[in-house]
Amino acid sequence: MKNFEYVRPDSVAQAVQALDRRGAMPLAGGMDMVPGMQDNVIIADRVVNLKSIRDDGVRGIRETDYGLVIGALTTLTEIAEHPVVQSHYAALAEATVEVGSPQIRNAGTLGGNLCQRPRCWYFRNEHYNCLKKGGPRCFAADDDAENQYNAILGGGPAYIVHPSNCASALVALDATFHVAGPDGPRAVHADDFFVLPTERLLQENVLRQGEIVTHVEIAAPADGAKSAFLETAERAGFDWGISGAAVSGVVRDGVINGPRIVLYAVAPIPWRARDAEALIDGKPLTEDAIRAAGEAALAGAEPLSNNGYKVPLTKTMVRRALARLA
C-alpha cells in the first residue's frame, strides 16, 4: 500500500478541515477501506480516522421528536440489535444483520457502509484499470466478462451494483443523510445521495471532497407503517446478496399507501422501482397486485451476458418483501 499521512481529529470540524484536500479520505471501521488500500485499489495520501472524533451525535442511536437519529460512527451491530430499530424500522434491522459477518458488523459503521466502494471484482483487482478507477473501460460491460454479479438496471457506462445493504433500507425508509463539510452542514435525502455512473464515475454518492456523513435521520413511522428487507445470497451467512428488495409503506385494512420499493444488488444505486410503487399505491396488497409490482419493478431490466437470472430472482424478492407488508 502507498504511504499516507494519518490524522486523528478530535471533532467533526477538525476532520472536515483535514479532509479538505485531494487525496484525503475518511476512515471509520476500516472493513472496506483497509483491504482496499492493501490491494492498491483504494489510494489515499492522507487518512483521517473519524473514530477519534469526540463530538456528540456522530455515534449511537437516539429517539427524537422527529424520529430516529443514528450517528455515522454507530456500528452495524448496534443498529441490528437495537430494539427500536427492530420494532419500528424493520427494513434497516433486517438489512443490517445481513452485512458480512459478526466481526465485520462489530467493526463496520453505518457511515462506512453507506460510503463503501464497489465490490465488483474487476474494481477490486489491481490489474483491471476500469472506469471506476479512472481507467478507459468497464470490463463488466463486455459480453465475455464475468458479470454474473453486476447490474441489470441503471447500468452504463459502469455496471457496478451498489454494495450497501443499509443504503437500500434507508432509501425505503425515506431517510435523510446529514453531511458536514467545508461549506457547512447540509441535509441530503437518501433518494438523492447515491448517484449513477452517468453522473459520477469515481464515486457513488454526492459527497464533495472534505464532506463526511455525520448522522442519518429517519422520520418516526406513521400509524400502520411497515417495512421489510430481504435478500438472496449464494451462502447462508457471510456473503453478499445477489439480489434483494427493501420495501415500506403504510398498510391499513390491507391497502398500501406511499409504498417504496427499492431494489438491492441489481443497480449502481439503491434502485427505486417507481413504476411498481405507482401501480400499487392506494390499492389492496393482493397477490395479483404484488405479482404485478414484481413485473413492473423489473420491466426496464437490461441484463448483461451472464446475469439474466437476476431478473426473475429480483421479481421474487419484490413479491416476497411486499408480501411481508400485507
Partner: protein, 719 residues
C-alpha cells in the same frame, strides 16, 4: 519375531472405540503451534513477485530498486521464466517486515514478453485458439481412448437410453494455512532447519536436499501442526526452495508462506470436467452400455483424468459395463495447475455417473436405490445403499419430481464411493523408560486427520495403557521414516507399524520383568496399566513398578509396518435430503448421511470427524466453490476467500456419520478413508435437486443462477 494379528474387536480397549484427540486442547485453545506460527528470532519475511500476464516470459528482472530499500536482505530471481498463468513466481524478496517486503516486490522491474492466452477450456478447444504452451504442445491432448464390446448394438437393443452432459468446475485447494515454510541455516550454513506446512516431511526433505545439492542428513524438517493439505502439500515446492535460498543468502531465517491470493492461484486444484454421457440399460435395469466423450482442464498442466464408468457394472471380472466407449481429452489453459485433491478424479466421475444412474432410474421407473443395488456387485455397498436410504428417510421421497405444493420442494439423492487406501513403508520406535513413560516416535505427520491420536491409541492398546500414558512424537525427519500422508494411506501405514513396534517393545519388557513375576515371558500380558501372569492374573506388577526394574537401560525397539495388519479397498454411500426454493434457486441441504467402511477402525471419533469434514467439503464443492477465470485479461477474478466461496457454518446441515462396524469389515485390518467420503456428496446433492424440482442442474456448483436457468429450460420458471 512373528507378527501378531490384531486382537478381535470385542477385546479391544481403545481401538474401535472413541478416543478424544490427544491434541484437542492445544488446538482449541490456540496453544498448538502451526507451521505458519513458527517465527524464529530475527526471521525475515519472504514474498514473491508474480506475473501480471497469463502467458508471458520474464525477459529481464531488475531488483536493484528493491534491494536499495532499507530492510531488504535478499532477493531471488528467475529471469527468463516462461509463465503460463497470471500469478507465476518470477522473483522474491526477503525483508525485515511484511510491509517492507510488500513495498519491495512493487519495486522489482520486469520486462515482459507477452503471448496470446486462453483461460477457458471451451475456448482452448477451438481450432483458432491461442496456444497455452506456444508451439511446443497443442492445447488438446487425447488422454483416454478405450472401447470394449459392441456399443452401438447395445444402444439399439436397450430398454432405456439416457443422454446428458454433466460438468464439474475447478476447485482450488484453498488450504487455510497457505503453502510454504520457514527455513534457517545452522552450523555456519552446514545444516538446514525447516518448519514446513506439509503432508510429507520426508518428501520435503528429499526435494530440498536435491535442489540445494546437500545430503538429506543435513536437512531437518518438522511439521508439528499443519492447516490443511488435501494432496497439495507433498513437496517443498518453488516456495520452499526459494525460502531456503533466501535464508542462505541473507544469513537469516526466512518465513515464506504464500499470500491468500497466491494460495488460490498457485497451490493446485481439482481439475474441471465436461462429460457427455450416453448410457443404456436392459428392462430389469442392468446397465449395458456406456459411451462418454469428455474433456477437462488441469490448467497449464495435465491431469484432468477420472475413472469411468464409475462404480456400476455387473458384467465380467472385474465387473464393469460390457459395452463401453470412452474418449477423453486433457485441455490446457493459462491457469493454475492440477494437483492431487482429496480422492483425485473420483468426485468428477461420481457426478456424471450418478446423474446417469438416476436418469436411467427415471426412464425405467425403478427406484434409484434398487437400481444401484442391482448394478453394484459390492456386497458391502449393497447393504450400505439400504442403510443410507433408511437413515435419510428415503420412503418420504417423491417418485414424481417436484410433487410438493408451493415453491419450496424437497428432494432426496444418493451416491456411492470406492477407494483403495492401504498402507506400507512406515517404521517406528517405541521407548519404555524406567519412569514408566512410553514414547512413540514415527516420522509421519498429522495433516489434521488425527494421526497423533492414532499413534497414541494403538500404542496404548498394545501396551495395556491409557492413551494419556503415551507420548506420541511425530512430524520430524529425525524420527523413523514414514510416507507422505496421501491416498488415504496414513492410518493404514502408521497404525500397523506402531502395533508391531509396541508388541516388540512389550516383548522385551516382558523378558526383562519375567523373573520378578516368576514366569516365562510368554506367560505375561499387559492390561490396565499392569503386567500380569496369564495363568495367574493375581501375580502382577503395576506398569510403573515393572518399568522401574529397567533401571538405567530403557527399552528402545524399532520395527515396521506389516502388510498382514492392513488392507485395501473400501465402500461408502452418501444420501442427502434437501430443499430447493424454485423462486430463488436457493438450495438448502437438510441432512446428509455418510456411511463408510474403514476396515479395522482405530479411533471411531476421528473417523467420524473425517466423514463430517468430507461431507462439508463435498457440500462446498456442490454448491459454492468455483474458480472464476476472466477472459478479458486472464486473471482469476475471485482469488480470495470472499468470492471463491466456501460453505460456511450456516450452510451445513445435520450430518450423520455412520462408521461401518460389520465384523467382516473390522476383521480386514486397517484401511484409510480420508478421501472416499467426499466423493459422492456432490453427486447425491445433484440427484436430490433433480428429484426436488424435476430439473437437472447438470453443472457444478449448483448456484441459484444455475437452478433458475435449469428451471427456465424445463419451462418451470416461477419468476
Amino acid at each position: 519375531m512373528a507378527v501378531i494379528p490384531w486382537k478381535p474387536a470385542g477385546e479391544m480397549t481403545h481401538i474401535t472405540k472413541n478416543t478424544t484427540r490427544v491434541d484437542a486442547v492445544p488446538k482449541v485453545t490456540g496453544k498448538a503451534e502451526f507451521s505458519y506460527d513458527v517465527l524464529p528470532k530475527d526471521a525475515l519475511i519472504g514474498l514473491f513477485v508474480t506475473s501480471p500476464y497469463p502467458n508471458c516470459t520474464a525477459v529481464t528482472v531488475d531488483t536493484a530498486a528493491a534491494e536499495a530499500l532499507p530492510g531488504v536482505k535478499a532477493v531471488w530471481t528467475d529471469e527468463g521464466k516462461v509463465c503460463r498463468m497470471a500469478g507465476e513466481f518470477v522473483a522474491a524478496v526477503a525483508a525485515e517486515t511484511r510491509d517492507i517486503a510488500r513495498d519491495a516486490v512493487r519495486r522489482v522491474r520486469v520486462e515482459w514478453e507477452r503471448y496470446p492466452f486462453v483461460v477457458k477450456a471451451e475456448d482452448a478447444r477451438q481450432p483458432n485458439s491461442a496456444q497455452v504452451h506456444g508451439a511446443t504442445r497443442p492445447n488438446v491432448n487425447r488422454a483416454a481412448d478405450d472401447e470394449a464390446g459392441d456399443v452401438d448394438a447395445a444402444f439399439e437393443s436397450a430398454a432405456a437410453v439416457v443422454d446428458g452432459t454433466y460438468s464439474t468446475q475447478v476447485q482450488t485447494h484453498t488450504s487455510l494455512e497457505s503453502h510454504g515454510m520457514t527455513c534457517r541455516w545452522d552450523d555456519a550454513g552446514e545444516n538446514l532447519r525447516v518448519w514446513a506446512s506439509t503432508q510429507g516431511v520426508f518428501s520435503v526433505r528429499g526435494e530440498l536436499a536435491g535442489a540445494l545439492e546437500m545430503p538429506e542428513s543435513s536437512v531437518v524438517v518438522t511439521t508439528d501442526y499443519m492447516g490443511g493439505g488435501f494432496g497439495s502439500k507433498f513437496g517443498a515446492g518453488v516456495e520452499g526452495i526459494v525460502c531456503a535460498r533466501l535464508a542462505r543468502d541473507a544469513g537469516r531465517a526466512v518465513k515464506l508462506l504464500l499470500t491468500r491470493e497466491q494460495e488460490q492461484t498457485n497451490s493446485g486444484n481439482r481439475p474441471s470436467s465436461v462429460q457427455h454421457i450416453r448410457a443404456a440399460a436392459d428392462a430389469e435395469g442392468r446397465v449395458t452400455a456406456f459411451d462418454m466423450e469428455a474433456h477437462g482442464t488441469g490448467g497449464y498442466s495435465q491431469g484432468a483424468g477420472f475413472p469411468a464408468p464409475y462404480i456400476y457394472g455387473v458384467f465380467g471380472d472385474p465387473p464393469s459395463i460390457p459395452n463401453r466407449r470412452i474418449v477423453r481429452d486433457d485441455v490446457y489453459i493459462n491457469a493454475g495447475n492440477a494437483r492431487a485433491m482429496r480422492a483425485p478424479g473420483h468426485p468428477q466421475a461420481s457426478f456424471g455417473m450418478e446423474a446417469t444412474m438416476d436418469e436411467l432410474a427415471y426412464a425405467l421407473d425403478i427406484d434409484p436405490v434398487d437400481l444401484r443395488v442391482l448394478n453394484d456387485p459390492n456386497e458391502t455397498r449393497q447393504a450400505q445403499y439400504r442403510d443410507a436410504a433408511k437413515r435419510i428417510g428415503w420412503s418420504r421421497r417423491n417418485a414424481e419430481p417436484g410433487a410438493d405444493a408451493g415453491p419450496v420442494k424437497t428432494g432426496f439423492g444418493i451416491g456411492a464411493a470406492r477407494w483403495g487406501g492401504g498402507g506400507g513403508g512406515t517404521r517406528a520406535t517405541v521407548e519404555i523408560h524406567s519412569d514408566g513413560s512410553a514414547v512413540v516416535k514415527c516420522g509421519t505427520q498429522d495433516l489434521g486427520t488425527g494421526t497423533r491420536t492414532v499413534v497414541a491409541a494403538v500404542a496404548a492398546e498394545q501396551l495395556g495403557l491409557a492413551v494419556e500414558d503415551i507420548t506420541p512424537l511425530i512430524g520430524d525427519t529425525r524420527f523413523p521414516p514414514s510416507g507422505g500422508s496421501g491416498g488415504s494411506t496414513t492410518c493404514a501405514s502408521v497404525a500397523p507399524a506402531i502395533k508391531v513396534t509396541a508388541d516388540a517393545a512389550l516383548a522385551t519388557l516382558f523378558g526383562r520383568v519375567a523373573p520378578a513375576l516368576d514366569a516365562q515371558a510368554d506367560n505375561l500380558e499387559a492390561v490396565d496399566r499392569t503386567i500380569r501372569r496369564i495363568d495367574d492374573p493375581s501375580k502382577s506388577l503395576a506398569w510403573a513398578d515393572a518399568c522401574a526394574l529397567l533401571g538405567a537401560e530403557p527399552i528402545s525397539e524399532t520395527e515396521q509396518h506389516d502388510g498382514s495388519l492392513s488392507s485395501r479397498g473400501t465402500a461408502g454411500v452418501c444420501s442427502v435430503e434437501l430443499t430447493v426454493d424454485e423462486e430463488t434457486g436457493d438450495v438448502r441441504i437438510q441432512k446428509v448421511v455418510s456411511v463408510q467402511e474403514a476396515g479395522l477402525v482405530i479411533d471411531k471419533l476421528t473417523l467420524e470427524s473425517q466423514l463430517i469434514g468430507a461431507v462439508i467439503q463435498g457440500i462446498s464443492y456442490a454448491l459454492h466453490e468455483d474458480r472464476v477465470m476472466d477472459r478479458l485479461l486472464g486473471h482469476q477474478v475471485n482469488a480470495n476467500m470472499e468470492f471463491y466461496k466456501i460453505s460456511g457454518a450456516m450452510d451445513i446441515p445435520e450430518i450423520e456419520p455412520v462408521v461401518w462396524m460389520a465384523e467382516e469389515s473390522l476383521s480386514r485390518g486397517v484401511i484409510g478413508i480420508g478421501e472416499p467420503p467426499v466423493i459422492p456428496v456432490a453427486a447425491a446433492i445433484g440427484n436430490a435437486v433433480r428429484n426436488a424440482t424435476g430439473a437437472r442442474v447438470a453443472g457444478l456448483p449448483i448456484t441459484p443462477r444455475r437452478v433458475l436457468e435449469a428451471l427456465e429450460r424445463e419451462g418451470r420458471a416461477q419468476g
